[in-house]
Amino acid sequence: MKLAQWQEGFRDWLTTGSATSADAFGDRAWPGLTVYQNNYRTQLVTCLEVSYPQLLRRVGEGNFRNAAMAHIDAHPPRGWTLDTYGADFVDTLVALFPRNPDLHELAWIEWSLSEAFVAPDASPLAREALWSVNWDEARLRLTPSLRHRVATTNADDVWSALQNDADSVPDGEMLDVAGALVVWRQGFHSRLRRLDADDDAALRLAIGKGHFAAMCDTLVMRLGEEAGVARAGALLADWLDAGIVVGVDD
């Protein structure tokens, strides 16, 4: 048998566990094939458990295991690193728990936090660098660790309660008004925040590399002249402190 064929046969055995794929290896191979099959699945389940610890607590071990098995069957790993294996686990959750956007958002939070943890480094911007900025032309440069999505549920409150081992963890609930979830890394720590619709509108402009002036205009439109300008200033200060903004280009 050619090596490529033999390796494809081994893959078929790992991904399907079917007796036909095992036959090609001979009777004596059976106990060993079982070890490899077990190692393969155990490792992927563990990888998902480590990537989604609070989701695991939220749905319970049985549900999580079923979701993990369904995921492993539908999404055999492709990348060289296990770190990326759980990236599309949320697709499986959407299929298995279609009425639970809180779980989908909880999964997004956990995945984004782990991505942010090893995202490229960026040093925070010194305040002095802002003195000479031409604000008419300025665009904010955001940290490469920033992850952003629509928030429709209180998944961030759920995650925080679970993460801090709080005495009571809130039920999943829809938000009255949709906002956004933002994850990034500050120093070595991954951070999570929920933004209201106004701040989110401003951040979306910054993510789209819009001018800071356009951000101000948007906030003025939403909040009125005085409050809009004040919010733009406050957001900039806050994002600088938090390490969300790491540069200003003008």
Partner: protein, 278 residues
């Protein structure tokens, strides 16, 4: 281009998360640490920082699990370039991976799957090693993995394969004594034939680890202390090979650092006896 590593580099431990603080804050009596390369082949953040800081205190060996040197598809050049970037930064004592495969046709098993010991596989593995060493700009070490399935059509033993592979490519060997023990028990070969069959001068590093009894097979679990049989085999290996950089691998049920250092002292004692005899 190839920089041969120093002939003997003492006694080390695998650097694991549970012991980061010990290594960062204290003065751990090891001669080197070994890290899993892939854990540090990331863009940024704390892992790279920790490796930088530990690397200022101890020489570092890079040990990979994803090179898949036995893939019929060839090696992954993007992976190799990433590893090279890490190696260029770390300036490691050794860069190693396993004589195994994990990738085929876009699928990656993330397990160290066995290579059939045939001429076809040998030619392919050698070609892959040459590409890898070329991209990295340094020679590598390859480790004998624990295996649970043997290929029916094998035309040579594992040690004959390793010997020929290192002869053709100039690569070094990482001898995992526990894996020899586990594979010998699973496939019924003689551990001493293995140790006598590999080229002593090519063995640059040794792994010691614990295993478990599975249903009908021994399983390489790295979750317990090195057992007496493996210590005995290590003693034999040292008498045949002379002193070789040795470390203990523990990946699960990780005990306090002091326990691993005690285990490492046993290796140090056996190695010193072998060194004096040499």
């Amino acid at each position: 281009m190839f920089t041969p590593p120093p002939p003997f580099s003492g006694y080390g431990l695998g650097l694991r998360k549970e012991h980061y603080r010990d290594f960062l804050d204290g003065d751990v009596p090891v001669d080197f640490v070994e890290v899993i390369s892939e854990n540090f082949m990331v863009d940024g953040g704390q892992p790279r920082d920790i490796l930088r800081r530990v690397g200022e205190k101890h020489p570092v060996a890079l040990h990979g699990v994803s090179m898949s040197i036995g893939s019929a598809d060839g090696v992954d050049i993007a992976y190799l370039r990433r590893l090279k970037a890490l190696a260029d930064e770390v300036q490691p004592l050794f860069v190693s991976d396993h004589l195994s495969w994990s990738r085929v046709a876009g699928f990656s098993s993330h397990d160290l799957l066995p290579v059939p010991y045939t001429e076809e596989a040998l030619a392919l593995v050698c070609r892959n090693i040459e590409v890898a060493q070329d991209v990295l700009g340094r020679s590598m070490l390859f480790e004998n993995p624990s295996s649970y399935v043997a290929f029916d059509g094998a035309t040579m033993s594992e040690w004959e394969f390793l010997a020929e592979m290192s002869k053709r490519t100039g690569c070094g060997l990482l001898l995992d004594v526990n894996n020899v023990f586990v594979s010998a028990s699973n496939h019924g070969f003689d551990t001493h034939a293995f140790l006598r069959g590999i080229p002593a001068a090519r063995v640059r590093q040794v792994h010691l680890a614990g295993h478990s009894q599975g249903p009908g097979l021994l399983i390489d679990t790295h979750d317990q202390p090195v057992c007496d049989d493996v210590w005995a085999l290590y003693r034999t290996a040292m008498s045949l090979l002379g002193p070789v950089a040795t470390m203990i691998e523990r990946d699960d049920a990780i005990p306090p650092l002091a326990e691993l250092l005690d285990e490492l002292d046993i290796a140090r004692g056996l190695g010193t006896v072998a060194r004096e005899a040499a």
